[in-house]
Symmetry: C2
Subunit: 257 residues, 2 copies
């Protein structure tokens, strides 16, 4: 046994009435969950909040105190409903103003495209004072970082590009590995043996995820751990248990997360 693995945690705040109205299906949570996991950062909580400054600031303040990193998505465009910069300023008690470096980026971009850098577009250069910028290779208007809070765009392609711009700044812990094994057995058949295995392997987080596919119920048993040895031992016992119960273990493609 080595030292206790280092665990680094994060939360996501999705800002946008359009997600809560059902009009837009969020794609950023799934992306960030996977990308953070690859970076050795464990996503522990997500909140979807509406475009209300007090709600955004409140969520950010609760979560930045509790987790190592916070990522927000949405609300950094040029329109009146883009209030993320002001909300982050409110959360930190910082003034919000035009960021000279961001202004220079927008000036260069709009000189290139020929569009006017009007007052609305200049809103996209506003950050809390002292924020550092996150590069946006797609549409140029940058995200920004205040302490442990990363502020990203809501458009998925831009959110993803910004994440790739910032990920070298993240200090990850030991990665969590996973092994997912499905079986066409009911959860109620697996539950007792699985509960006993969870007790035997406290350093492995064992989850049971029922599914309904092709007209048949089944369950995926996902084991996750920062210890590869314990993970593999636990997964071997999961497979054995499935066979003893008359099921055939099916290795799932996303093992190794």
């Amino acid at each position: 046994m080595t030292d206790r693995p280092k665990t680094v945690t994060a939360a996501v705040v999705i800002i946008g009435n359009e997600i809560l109205s059902g009009r837009t299906k969020d794609q950023n949570l799934g992306f960030l969950a996977e990308a953070l996991n690859e970076a050795g950062v464990q996503l522990r909580e997500c909140r979807v909040v509406s475009d209300i400054e007090a709600d955004i600031a409140g969520a950010v303040n609760e979560l930045r105190a509790r987790y190592d990193y916070v990522f927000t998505t949405g609300g950094i465009g040029p329109t009146h409903d883009d209030i993320t910069a002001d909300s982050i300023g409110a959360a930190f008690g910082l003034a919000v103003d035009h960021n000279p470096e961001a202004v220079a980026i927008l000036q260069a971009h709009y000189t290139h495209t020929g569009a006017a850098l009007n007052e609305a577009r200049m809103r996209m250069a506003r950050t809390p004072v002292g924020a550092s910028l996150i590069e946006n290779p797609i549409s140029k208007a940058p995200g920004f970082l205040v302490e442990n809070v990363f502020v990203l765009a809501g458009i998925p392609v831009v959110c993803q590009a910004m994440f790739h711009s910032l990920k070298h700044k993240l200090v990850g812990g030991d990665p969590v590995r996973s092994i997912a094994i499905a079986v066409h057995l009911a959860e109620g058949t697996l539950a007792k043996g699985l509960g006993a295995l969870q007790e035997k392997y406290p350093e492995v987080d064992m989850g049971s995820y029922p599914f309904y596919r092709d007209g048949r119920f089944g369950a995926s048993i996902v084991s996750r751990s920062q210890s590869v040895d314990r993970l593999e031992a636990a997964a071997d016992e999961v497979r054995l248990m499935m066979r003893e119960l008359g099921g055939e273990p099916i290795e799932e493609a996303d093992s190794g997360d």
Copy 2:
């Protein structure tokens, strides 16, 4: 002008490590957002929390005090990681025990299927004492209701079926109507005029949602209101503004939410 429209609000709590790990992409938020909207209930917040009793109970207690209804999804199966019933009990300070009506449902079901109603399956009959049940026409194990908190399954098809079982219990407010109009203009071009329209129509919530499709940026302007008259007047002005700026308004299919 009639009386101020009645507004009924809700929050969703998605329980499940599998969403936070990125392994499973949530489908319940989008469904509930739309279904609640149809029922005249406005979804105002969503939290995704991990399988930790204190986190689940904490989120439920914060949200049930703040919104008219709370819906949870996930964690009501037979395995060791299904801790929603205990967490809701903890949130309300209620004991959790086998619910006689739920036991009868499971007895009838497993007599029919021939599978054993073992101890693990009996876990699915546990509810906080005094909870009323929510019918599950798919796999029978019921959801339940404590005060204003509806506890639903995580499997999307079961979650959806349970929602249809409970929706007659919801007392909705005036529905929010929406009109969505897209245009191939940059948000930065639309922003000034749109901001002025938002000031002119304070009872209409006007959102701008940039998109990137077929290699072109554009924006959807979504106007939402409980007042149909004001909504239609605002949308007419949005279309006029788009044309004045050289864009062609494109009516989006999901108008009328």
